[in-house]
Amino acid sequence: MPNHRILVLYAHPAPHRSRINRRLADAARAIDGVLLHDLYETYPDFFIDVAHEQALAEQAELIVFLHPLRWYSMPSLLKEWVDAVLQPGWAYGPGATALRGKGYLLALTTGSGLDAYAAGERHGHPFDAFLPPFRQTAALCGMHWLAPHILHGANSANEEAVEAHVAAFRSRLEAWLRGDRHGA
């Protein structure tokens, strides 16, 4: 069992064509105490080893979902992970304490800029309107919701913006490992 305190669930169906998520993943992987868990590499057939995943999650103090936004939600394999691993009695419901008190960080990229998320615009709603499913998943499992780490307009982001975003992600994870729950 890896000796990690942060579990990053990285879900990207086409990592070879990713500019930003791949760099975020590489940055996380380089930090001691972080387990970068590449779901599409580990479970290409969508057959998830539930007991193994639960053990990884139990050991972590912070669980990070790292992925591009897909149809206002997570990539299908990460959704499969949620469906299969977050079992009643373990993750939620009577007697479930496995994830209680852990931190939960959503690290997202979106193709469109933030301005497309507004009434009357392309996506019809402000961006925060799409977060409740993530937020409530964490809440039901008793996890603390941290401010999400989001890069909007990933398709058109320039190098400086990407670099700054990756650096900020790195320092948030490092802050958590130092025990700074608020800086993370």
């Binding site: 990207h12 169906p13 086409a14 990592p15 064509r17 930003i20 590499e41 290409p44 057939d45 591009p68």
Partner: protein
């Protein structure tokens, strides 16, 4: 006229071939057909055959084979669960029928010793007729069939003390032949123990060695040898041959060679049983009948009336459904083969005069002839009256109901078998490699030895009740032959087939098999996928690429199928395969890179 073996065979076979289909056509049933054929060629018909006694004796081996085959169907545990029926109901039937006949005979003033022997002899029924009829009508699984079978089995046991009893009643015929009774008993016990132990530890390995030799006729020869040897052994210790054969059958019931033994002995049983019925037909002594027609008819009618009544009343105790009570009574109403033996022994022991003996034998023979006629009456008159009120009985549950048959259990079939087994699917496995079978049986699989392309083996393996057939044979010709046979005889049985190559796949598709997997295709794709991964493709991307190619290849194979059919007349096999490969490569290249370069983070 002097007859050689071949001319005799010619006469029997011709009589059977003419009479039996005719009788079936007229709705009389096969048994009556044989009996009529026997009457026609016998001493009182066309006089083609003289030596009835010998033929009757010889053909009794058909009954022995019948009991052996029935034993094969009956595992010891099931036999044990029938013990109440066999011994309880069996004793009740023999004693009550014998008592009723004995009483009736005393009433009309027959000497008590004659009455006793006649009553005991006539209380037995004909195993051959009753079981053949049960089989012909597929009634073995019904309560009436089960009860009938149990009673017949007990009668086979009961006949032994009866035959022993006869000399006691007679004017002591030289008693020297039979030494102390305890010696006989000891010999009997020793032989039975020998059969039980030998059946377990000698016959099975012997069967395996012979099966391994791969010579069918030697396997058949061994099967016959086995039955004959056990029968003679049993006769030697004074037990019924049929009972001995039955015991041997039971001992081999859970053997992997059960189906193979069944299929090999079945034709012998059928022919010998037919011969037996012919012999019974021939033995009907019309001389005696013509001399005293009224007495004989009266005796037959009286006997049948008494036996039918007792059996009918007993059927209530046996829990037989309303609609089957008369059927049950009729099935067991006739006198049996043992009656001939008992009366023969009685005549020898001079319990009664030879005329009385031939009179009784005529009664038994006529009662045998009456059974098919009574059944006809039952079908035409009695049964329709019940049909309205009597709901259909539930089908007897077969052990194998809802199973899946796997034909061919080599490297390919095994994986399927283990997958299904792990998911609690009941399996029947057919294979022709004895080593394989031995190994698998050790792991608790139900494996049978035999050539799966034989339709009789499939029938014996329960193809009629199977949910699916997995055709995993590696030989292409055998695979196609089996597909043909199943399509013809079990059109509703779904086939899932393994194809050795694309042409084989097309040939299976020609036969209407829709679920076909090429044996190397999927595993080659998996290894190809691993190769892509090794070359730096992400696991998921490699999977996608593999799936895309797989889909594309399947479409290509389907697209080439009609083309294969058109050209199969004149293009050589090799040329065709090359063309297909060419076409596929061309299509592969046209395919693939249609990935779009859109919005990924």
């Amino acid at each position: 006229m002097e007859h050689s073996l071949l001319t005799n065979a010619l006469i029997y076979l011709a009589a059977a071939v003419v009479a039996v289909p005719l009788a079936k056509r007229l709705g009389l049933g096969a048994v009556l057909g044989y009996l009529l054929a026997g009457m026609a060629i016998g001493p009182w018909g066309l006089k083609l055959i003289g030596d009835v006694e010998t033929i009757l004796h010889f053909s009794e081996f058909g009954v022995v084979l019948l009991l052996f085959l029935i034993g094969l169907e009956l595992e010891p545990s099931r036999l044990w669960s029938l013990r109440r029926q066999i011994f309880g109901w069996g004793t009740a039937q023999v004693l009550l029928v014998a008592a009723a006949l004995f009483g009736a005979a005393l009433l009309v003033g027959v000497d008590w010793r004659v009455a006793l022997i006649a009553a005991l002899g006539l209380s037995l029924s004909s195993t051959a007729i009753a079981l053949a009829t049960l089989g012909e009508r597929n009634l073995m699984g019904t309560p009436a069939g089960q009860a009938g079978f149990a009673l017949l089995l007990f009668q086979d046991i009961a006949a032994i003390p009866m035959i022993a009893l006869v000399p006691v009643l007679g004017v002591a015929v030289a008693d020297s032949a039979h030494a102390g009774g305890w010696q006989n008993a000891a010999r009997l016990a020793a032989v039975i123990a020998g059969v039980v132990i030998g059946g377990r530890y000698l016959v099975r390995p012997a069967l395996r060695i012979i099966a391994k030799a791969g010579m069918r006729e030697i396997f058949t020869a061994f099967a016959l040898l086995l039955v004959i040897a056990i029968s003679l052994l049993m006769q030697w210790v004074g037990m019924s041959m049929a009972l001995g054969a039955f015991m041997a059958g039971v001992l081999l019931a859970d053997s992997e060679y059960r189906h193979a033994l069944e299929t090999d002995l079945e034709p012998f049983k059928g022919l010998l049983l037919g011969l037996f019925f012919i012999a019974v037909g021939m033995s009907v002594d019309f001389g005696v009948f013509l001399a005293k027609p009224m007495i004989i008819l009266g005796l037959v009618l009286g006997f049948l009336a008494i036996k039918l009544t007792v059996l009918f009343l007993l059927s209530f105790r046996f829990g037989i459904a309303r609609g089957q009570r008369w059927l049950f009574a009729i099935l067991l109403s006739q006198g049996g083969e043992f009656a001939f033996v008992v009366f023969g022994a009685a005549a020898t022991a001079r319990v009664f005069a030879p005329e009385t003996g031939s009179l009784l034998v005529a009664v038994v023979a006529l009662s045998m002839v009456s059974t098919p006629l009574l059944l006809l009456f039952h079908d035409k008159v009695l049964e329709p009256r019940y049909r309205g009120q009597n709901k259909r009985e539930p089908d007897a549950i077969d052990d194998n109901e809802g199973h899946v048959i796997i034909a061919g259990f080599g490297r390919f079939g095994q994986i399927i078998g283990r997958l299904l087994n792990a998911n609690r699917i009941k399996l029947t496995i057919l294979d022709h490699d004895p080593d394989q079978i031995e190994l698998l049986r050790r792991f608790g699989f139900k494996v049978f030895y035999g050539d799966a392309t034989r339709i009789d083996l499939l029938t014996a393996a329960g193809a009629a009740k199977a949910r699916a057939l997995v055709l995993a044979i590696d030989d292409i010709d055998d695979s196609l032959a089996l597909a043909d046979a199943v399509r013809e005889h079990f059109p509703d049985l779904p086939i899932l087939a393994r194809a050795r190559n694309v042409t084989h796949m097309y040939q299976l598709m020609d036969r209407g098999v829709t679920i076909v997997e090429r044996e190397t295709f999927e595993s080659a794709l998996q290894l190809g996928r691993r190769a892509l991964s090794q070359l730096g493709f992400g696991a998921y991307r490699a999977r996608e690429a593999m799936l895309k190619f797989r889909e594309h290849n399947k479409n290509s194979v389907d697209a080439v199928y009609p083309y294969y059919k058109d050209r199969e007349q004149y293009v050589s096999m090799a040329k065709r395969a090359r063309d297909e490969l060419n076409a596929m490569f061309a299509r592969d290249l046209k395919n693939i890179d249609n990935e779009t370069d859109q919005g990924w983070d």
